[in-house]
């Protein structure tokens, strides 16, 4: 699993560079517009991928079969035997279409997951606003009986620690409440004995890449939180999280952005289907 996690971490390095570059305009566009543009491009690209990874000839034949059987249902609705047979063939056709879409789905699942992970950095949460507070939590490795390391946040002009450190013994967590002071992309530096660790912090009013968690060396966490390098398995700290506020928008806000993305990309894919001559 650690090997798998390292592979995803490596892929994240590449997708982060790609995401930062390609999704950079999100910062300066209204959320609904940027999500619509991304959805449109993704819809068309996925359609093209589908075209070249699926058996278009077979899909076309099944589609024609389904059409023929639908026609039979209309024409011979008085004949029970014909109707039943046509219905069975329609269902069979639908099932075969599903089978033929497995290969393109498998091809697309990884890039789509990586794209969604990159998009979530922009839309799922919003940066802290100046004056706003948030809780930073460092989850430590080890069990609750072990000694507690001394961890402090280094003073910086970007934030002020308003409460903490507060230890949650039962969960082996250390928490701070911080107050955002200065707009921009910052790093919070934690002093741990002789060591230092960092966590990204976003403060501002516009769209920014917001990394809520610097993850542990766990492949699911790394996939879901791709922005920052995961902690090593021997690190004192397992993960560091910041509870950023949710973004309120039905097109580009928390959770809704994903629904909007799926619907909009499907709409654009369907609209471009006749031009790209793709059968799905």
């Amino acid at each position: 699993m650690i090997f798998f996690a390292r592979i995803i971490s490596l892929i994240n390095t590449l997708t982060n560079s790609f995401g930062k570059l390609v999704l950079a305009p999100v910062e300066s566009l209204p959320g609904w517009l940027s999500n619509t543009i991304i959805s449109a491009i993704a819809g068309v690209l996925l359609l093209i991928v589908f075209k070249y990874t699926s058996n278009q000839q077979a899909i076309g034949k099944i589609r024609d079969d389904i059409k023929a059987n639908m026609l039979a249902l209309k024409l011979f609705k008085d004949s029970i035997s014909v109707t039943l047979l046509a219905e069975v063939r329609v269902f069979k056709g639908a099932f075969l279409l599903l089978l033929y879409s497995i290969v393109p789905m498998l091809v697309m699942i990884i890039p789509v997951s990586l794209l969604i992970a990159q998009m979530s950095l922009w839309y799922q949460l919003r940066p802290l606003r100046q004056g706003e507070t948030a809780v930073v939590t460092a989850k430590l490795n080890g069990n609750i009986e072990e000694n507690w390391p001394t961890i402090n946040i280094e003073p910086t002009s970007a934030i002020e620690v308003t409460v903490g450190p507060v230890r949650i013994f039962s969960k082996r967590e250390i928490c701070w409440e911080i107050k955002a002071l200065e707009n921009g992309k910052h790093n919070i530096t934690f002093d741990i004995a002789q060591d230092k660790i960092e966590k990204e912090l976003a403060i501002g009013d516009s769209y920014m890449r917001v990394s809520a968690i610097r993850p542990a060396l766990n492949w699911v966490d790394i996939l879901m939180h791709p922005a920052e390098k995961p902690f090593g398995s021997d690190s004192v700290v397992q993960s560091v999280s910041i509870d950023y506020p949710e973004r309120r928008s039905k097109t580009s806000g928390t959770d809704w952005w994903l629904i909007y993305f799926f619907i909009a990309s499907m709409v654009f894919a369907f609209l471009s289907k006749p031009f790209l001559k793709v059968r799905i």
Partner: protein, 659 residues
């Protein structure tokens, strides 16, 4: 276009379309400062501590303002609203009784009418309020009767906006869409009460214990983590309703003198003595089978009182979330959302200062002052919002601070305070002085902002007096042979209605057990009633305390002091107490104590439910007040006159500016 819409258009549309163009801006701003007392105001004005209000007084814009009979806030504000006395609005006390149910008490201003019919499935019941079922859901209705004065403004196409208006929950409907209102005093929390805090501590009761205005629970820490439950609104979709709860965890760090509270998706860090921001909480009500569960959003603030040795955590009453209100607390309903879009989350219950927490020793005086200060700061932000959104017409803004803080902190006597040392009592009263001074500067800002561009009225519904001694009316009635049996301990416990001639309920009300009106009435409505009322009034006015001081200034016969169509539920006598006296705590809900007169032992050490002559309010204006003795009922007619509207015959007041 239909004839109806043409007709409506001819009345409303043109008035709306042209009113702003036709009229020059006409502005009236009323600042309601609940409980602002004339004695203290005059003292502070004379001492130069209220310079802005003193300036208005200097210019002829100050009078002592006559209050209502009795001087209780719901009654007084309803007088203000109708421009007429209780006979017009039908509110006579905080508590009324249903004569058909023989003294069954209910809250006077609003009533929840139970629903009718439901569909049962498993452990759930559901009301299907559509054909063919036609079940009727429960409904909360405003019991205030008569026409509120803003209806006349509404009809004339004049905008009016009220913030935190008492005696108007649920807010009345605006027929012409020119009236907006955020309901104030009387608005419940999500438990349906006037504010129920929840307190968690290591020395709390093992099973959650209800107390007046709160709930207490025990916290048990294991590995410095304790699990607790926040009790939410009742799930009435269950055949046997039970409250919805939100489990949460409290983690303490004694060395850091702090704690972390994990509740739903929130993690809150608190130092000892720190308040959290408002937290949104989602209470889930289970519904049958595949029907999605219902969700109610509440807002709550936590306050970490102590980490060690006795961990104590306070959770505020669960207020309705203004950004997604489960209760209809504004007119129009979307108004609350508009305010919240700008201001975020804030107290929405009617009683915002948590006086119950102080009365029950959950708060000390300092903690209460901090919490009340936060309420005032929120209200000042709301006031700023009100001005940002005010163009012309009527703007009303209400401050509760002077009332609820005075109840708890007022003491203007050298006599011993019920719960505090002399020095502490003085210190608390100094806090009230500061509050008056702070509100004076708020008035100063308004005068600076609007100057002569608006008629500005600053008014209070009543004044204040110490509450040192409590009088049990029912004990007095029992001792004087009007209430039986002689060993009765309360009108809902042991009472012989076949011999009882009179009983007390609410703070100031005395009711005869009248034949034909009360279910078990025995007093004849004719001569016997007359004779009995005169006899009881005379005797009550003669009651003396152990030191010889008179206790009651006047027992008002309501058939003589109330006029209007809404007197059906009026008590027969309203007992007007002298300063320092009030009805006992037990009297309010019909209980009987051994003694007739006893010391008040509550932190609630000042009150205004005295005689109308003892606790008048104040009125200030930047326009000279001509009336020599204005009263609350005169404000509405004066406002209508300012907007060029004739005073309707239903109003009993007069214009104070052209007396």
């Amino acid at each position: 276009m239909t004839a109806a819409s043409l007709a409506a258009g001819s009345r409303v549309g043109p008035a709306i379309a042209t009113s702003k163009n036709r009229r020059p801006a006409n502005r009236v701003i009323i600042i309601g400062i609940d409980g602002m007392d004339p004695r203290l105001s005059e003292k502070l004005m004379n001492a130069g501590q209220m310079p802005n209000l003193a300036g208005l007084r200097q210019a002829g814009g100050y009078r002592v303002l006559g209050t209502s009979i009795p001087p209780q806030s719901p009654v007084a504000w309803a007088n203000f609203i109708n421009g007429a006395g209780p006979g017009s609005h039908g509110i006579f006390d905080f508590i009324h009784r249903d004569p058909a149910e023989q003294a069954a008490p209910f809250f006077a201003v609003a009533k929840t009418i139970a629903g009718n019919g439901y569909w049962k499935t498993g452990k759930h019941k559901m009301q299907l309020n559509f054909p063919p079922f036609g079940h009727k859901p429960p409904e909360t209705v405003l019991l205030r009767q008569g026409t509120p004065f803003w209806d006349y403004l509404d009809k004339a196409g004049i905008d009016s906006t009220f913030y935190d208006l008492p005696s108007n929950y649920p807010p009345s409907h605006s027929k012409y869409g020119r009236h907006k209102c955020l309901a104030g005093m009387g608005t419940p929390d999500l438990l349906g009460t006037y504010g129920t805090y929840q307190h968690f501590s290591e020395d709390g009761p093992v099973r959650t214990k209800d107390e007046d205005g709160g709930k207490r629970s025990m916290l048990f820490f294991e590995n410095e983590t304790a699990a607790a439950k926040l009790v939410g609104p009742q799930n009435n979709f269950l055949i046997e309703p039970e409250p919805s709860v939100i489990p949460f965890l409290v983690h303490r760090d004694i060395a850091a003198n702090s704690c972390a509270v994990e509740i739903q998706k929130h993690k809150i860090l608190l130092r000892q003595g720190q308040w959290s921001r408002w937290i949104k909480l989602d209470f889930e009500m289970s519904l049958p089978g595949p029907i999605p569960n219902k969700h109610l959003t509440a807002i709550c603030r936590f306050y970490l009182q102590e980490v060690s040795p006795n961990f104590r955590l306070y959770a505020s009453p669960l207020n309705s979330d203004p950004s997604n209100s489960a209760l209809r607390i504004t007119e129009p309903p979307e108004f609350i959302g508009e305010i919240s879009d700008r201001l975020g989350l804030f107290y929405t219950t009617g009683f915002q200062e948590d006086h119950k927490a102080l009365s029950n020793n959950v708060f000390n005086e300092d903690e209460f002052c901090v919490q009340a200060g936060m309420v005032l700061q929120e209200r000042l932000k709301l006031l700023e919002y009100a001005f940002e959104n005010y163009d012309d017409g009527l703007l009303f803004f209400y401050f509760s601070s002077t009332d609820l803080q005075s109840h708890m902190l007022w003491w203007d006597s050298e006599l011993k305070h019920p719960t505090r040392s002399a020095e502490d009592a003085k210190e608390c009263f100094r806090h009230i002085h500061k509050l008056y001074t702070e509100l004076d500067s708020v008035v100063g800002d308004i005068l600076k902002r609007y100057g002569d561009k608006a008629t500005i009225i600053v008014m209070s519904d009543h004044g204040f007096a110490n509450f040192k001694r409590q009088f049990n009316l029912n004990t007095w009635l029992r001792e004087n042979g009007y209430l039986y049996p002689p060993n009765s301990t309360g009108i809902f416990k042991e009472i012989d209605w076949s011999r009882t001639q009179a009983y007390g309920l609410g703070i100031n009300g005395l009711y005869l057990n009248l034949k034909g009106r009360e279910r078990d009435g025995i007093v004849d409505p004719g001569e016997q009633r007359e004779q009995l009322l005169d006899e009881i009034s005379t005797k009550l006015e003669g009651v003396r305390d152990t030191n010889g001081r008179p206790v009651i200034a006047k027992a008002h016969r309501t058939d003589k002091v109330y006029t209007g169509p809404a007197t059906a539920l009026a008590p027969d006598l309203v007992i007007g107490y002298r300063r320092d006296y009030r009805a006992s705590w037990a009297t309010c809900l019909g209980d009987i104590t051994d003694e007739i007169l006893l010391d008040n032992d509550s932190a609630w050490s000042a009150d205004h439910c005295a005689d109308v002559s003892e606790v008048p309010g104040v009125i200030f204006s930047n326009r000279p007040i001509d009336a020599a003795s204005p009263a609350l009922i005169d404000i509405a007619p004066s406002v209508l006159k300012k907007f060029g509207i004739e005073i309707p015959p239903s109003m009993q007041g007069k214009d104070i500016f052209t007396a």
